[in-house]
Amino acid sequence: MDREILNELTVALQKGDAIKTQKFVKIALKKGYEPEQILTEGLVSSMNTIAEKFKKKQIFVPDLLLATRAMNAGIFILKPKLKKQLFSPIGKVLIGTIEGDLHDIGKNLVKVFLERAGFEVIDLGNDVPVNYFIEAIKKFKPQILGLSASLTTTMYGMRDVIKALEKEGLRENLLIVVGGVPITESFATGIGADIYDMDGTKVADKAKEKLKCSNF
């Protein structure tokens, strides 16, 4: 079978063109490619290239986001035709910015990095009170909790969340990752967090290692 169409799919995805990505996924299906092959060789591999380029600072965030959007558009077409297990995420993350803090751009980026790496991410938004975190953890039962704070007056809110989790008996099987502009490694360790990542780009790898997960 000619690979022409997969190449075109790759180009469309890397350009972040969701409409063309969907179009080429449909054509590939018509041409008889297995959905799994379109997924891995067309969508996932090009997305990995994009992610690599981003890590090396060869492309910008919008390029990454548009490619992610295009990939999701492609997956939307493939999803009903795929064997189920291919789609089970490698872990569930709950993420949010501490109460009183409106800074959420950093957190939003970390969310994208995690989703890209195959995690399912539930975003509680910004200005999240401690009890919302607790309720959401009871409800969604994530393996990972991500906390973000950008102010010197909200960073201790992270400690409050961790303390409340301990009190509720919810701390044990939860991996806690923290970040934000005033947060340091020693602060993170001091409040009992498990992972600190300065710019959020390594958080997925670090979490995977701790969870001993395999790749997407």
Binding site: P62, D104, L109, T152, D199
Partner: protein, 460 residues
């Protein structure tokens, strides 16, 4: 609608566009004149890592008192001709206006003491937090959140503030998305329609409070907008050309405070300040290399070129070998100001300005659009617009053209990735319909989400 529309430039001649001098200088009772020839330091400091609540508030007060004493003491020793202190309240001090008001009183008391005993002239800028966000936000212009912001302004104005500012956030959520995707239409809509409407309402009320209390409505900043893009561009996450064009668009938005009656000095982190000064003639506060304690930028020198106050943005209180950080920042600002003022005294201020400009403007698009000659070129175009939306679009278009011209004549370096984005932004601008209603309807239809509800701005 705007109370005043600026249809002409206040500064037409490049030689009149220089630090320390503003056509509409502001004179204060204590003898300080902002924009009258002297650049003064504006020191801004904040709490070290700590929570602010009922149990800790007295500790926070103590911190503010000590920081203010340290700053005033150092300023006095360095014989400054005048000092501005800015307190950006932390969120809890706007959610509990009485805490913000008490902080204002404490800081002002120390400043008054130094003024009376040691002759240290000073002014206090208070910046409440724009807390109008969150799931329980009823409306941008009424309800609990609005009342908190207004009560904080009023209380601080009555209890020692000389200047009022805010980093307002109307339209921010939409703009955030615009930045992350480099989506020009969305950015234009967020600034030219949503933020513009909010600025009118917000500043109408801040100006009223300032008038009632006989203090100065100083100005806003596009911190929530173009500073987000600037910080992202500095980290290599978005193209610098986007942050540059965003900044110029933001000038239209920030200037709405002046249309409503703000008279400057505009707030430090508004790097669109040069545009505000050129168009409205009001003095501006700026930050640059002096704000590296707070965030990074590529325009550390050029930011000072037309500044009337020179600021450090905000530093958290910590001990270093040279003393506490607010005192250290004071010292650094004082020396920068002394040098600039000395150039003025010797008749060489334009030389100094040009060196500040030339040392940065070639290396980064955001720095380039701060170049005084470029500012005047673009500002001339902006004032031709009849509505805020039209002005925002003109600003973007003119910025694209100036950046391209700069690249072509060798005065700005841009790599291929940046150039690609410049072209993309240009073509996105072209595709925005001229018909305002059509544009708004289309934007509302496609962007109404949990995070942006047009009804909270009385749009649609």
């Amino acid at each position: 609608m705007a109370k005043v529309t600026f249809n002409e430039l206040a500064i037409n001649n490049l030689n009149d566009f220089v630090y320390g001098h503003a056509p509409k200088k502001i004179k204060f009772d204590n003898g300080m004149v902002i924009g009258g020839g002297t650049v003064y330091p504006e020191v801004n400091f904040t709490l070290p890592p700590m929570q602010v609540n009922k149990n800790t508030i007295s500790k926070a007060y103590k911190q503010y008192k000590e920081m203010t004493e340290g700053v005033c003491q150092r300023a006095m020793e360095l014989q400054v001709p005048g000092l501005v202190i800015e307190i950006e309240l932390v969120p809890d001090m706007t959610f509990n206006p009485e805490w913000g008001i008490e902080t204002t009183k404490i800081v002002k008391e120390v400043m008054n003491e130094y003024q009376d005993k040691n002759g240290l002239k000073s002014l206090l800028r208070i910046t409440p937090v724009d807390v109008r966000e969150g799931n329980d936000l009823e409306h941008m212009w009424r309800g609990k959140h609005w009342d908190l912001v207004m009560d904080t302004f009023k209380g601080c104005a009555e209890n020692g503030a000389d200047l009022l500012s805010i980093e307002s956030v109307g339209g921010k959520n939409l703009h955030d998305d615009g930045v992350m995707f480099c989506d020009v239409a969305k950015t234009v809509f967020s600034l030219g329609i949503v933020a513009a409407r909010d600025m009118e309402k917000l500043w109408e009320n801040i100006v009223k409070i300032a008038e009632e209390t006989n203090i100065i409505p100083a100005g806003d900043t596009a911190c929530a907008f173009a500073n987000t893009s600037m910080v992202l561009a500095v980290r290599g996450m978005i193209p610098t050309v986007f942050s540059a064009i965003d900044r110029v668009m933001c000038a239209v938005r920030t200037m709405i405070a002046n249309e409503q009656g703000a008279i400057g000095p505009d707030k430090d982190c508004g790097y669109e300040g040069p545009y505000i000064k050129a168009i409205t003639g009001t003095p501006i506060s700026m930050e640059g290399k002096s704000a590296a304690v707070a965030h990074n930028s590529f325009c550390g020198n050029i930011a000072a070129a037309v500044a009337d106050l020179w600021s450090n943005e905000a530093v958290e209180n910590k001990r270093l070998l040279g003393g506490m950080t607010p005192e250290i920042c004071t010292e650094m600002l004082v020396y920068d100001c002394r040098l600039m003022n000395q150039f003025t005294a010797s008749g060489n201020n334009l030389l100094m300005r040009d060196m500040l400009v030339e040392s940065d403007s070639r290396l980064d698009a955001h720095a380039y659009i701060m170049k005084p000659s470029v500012v005047l070129n673009i500002a001339k175009e902006i004032i031709k617009g009849k509505t805020h939306l039209e002005r925002t679009k003109i600003a973007a278009k003119a910025a694209v053209q100036e950046i391209r011209k700069g690249f072509e004549n060798g005065s700005l370096e841009l790599n291929e990735r940046e150039l690609n984005y410049l072209n993309m932004i240009d073509s996105q601008l072209e595709s925005i319909p001229d018909n305002e209603e059509e544009f708004i309807a289309d934007m509302i239809e496609n962007n109404t989400t949990e995070k942006f509800d047009p009804k909270k701005y009385d749009i649609a």
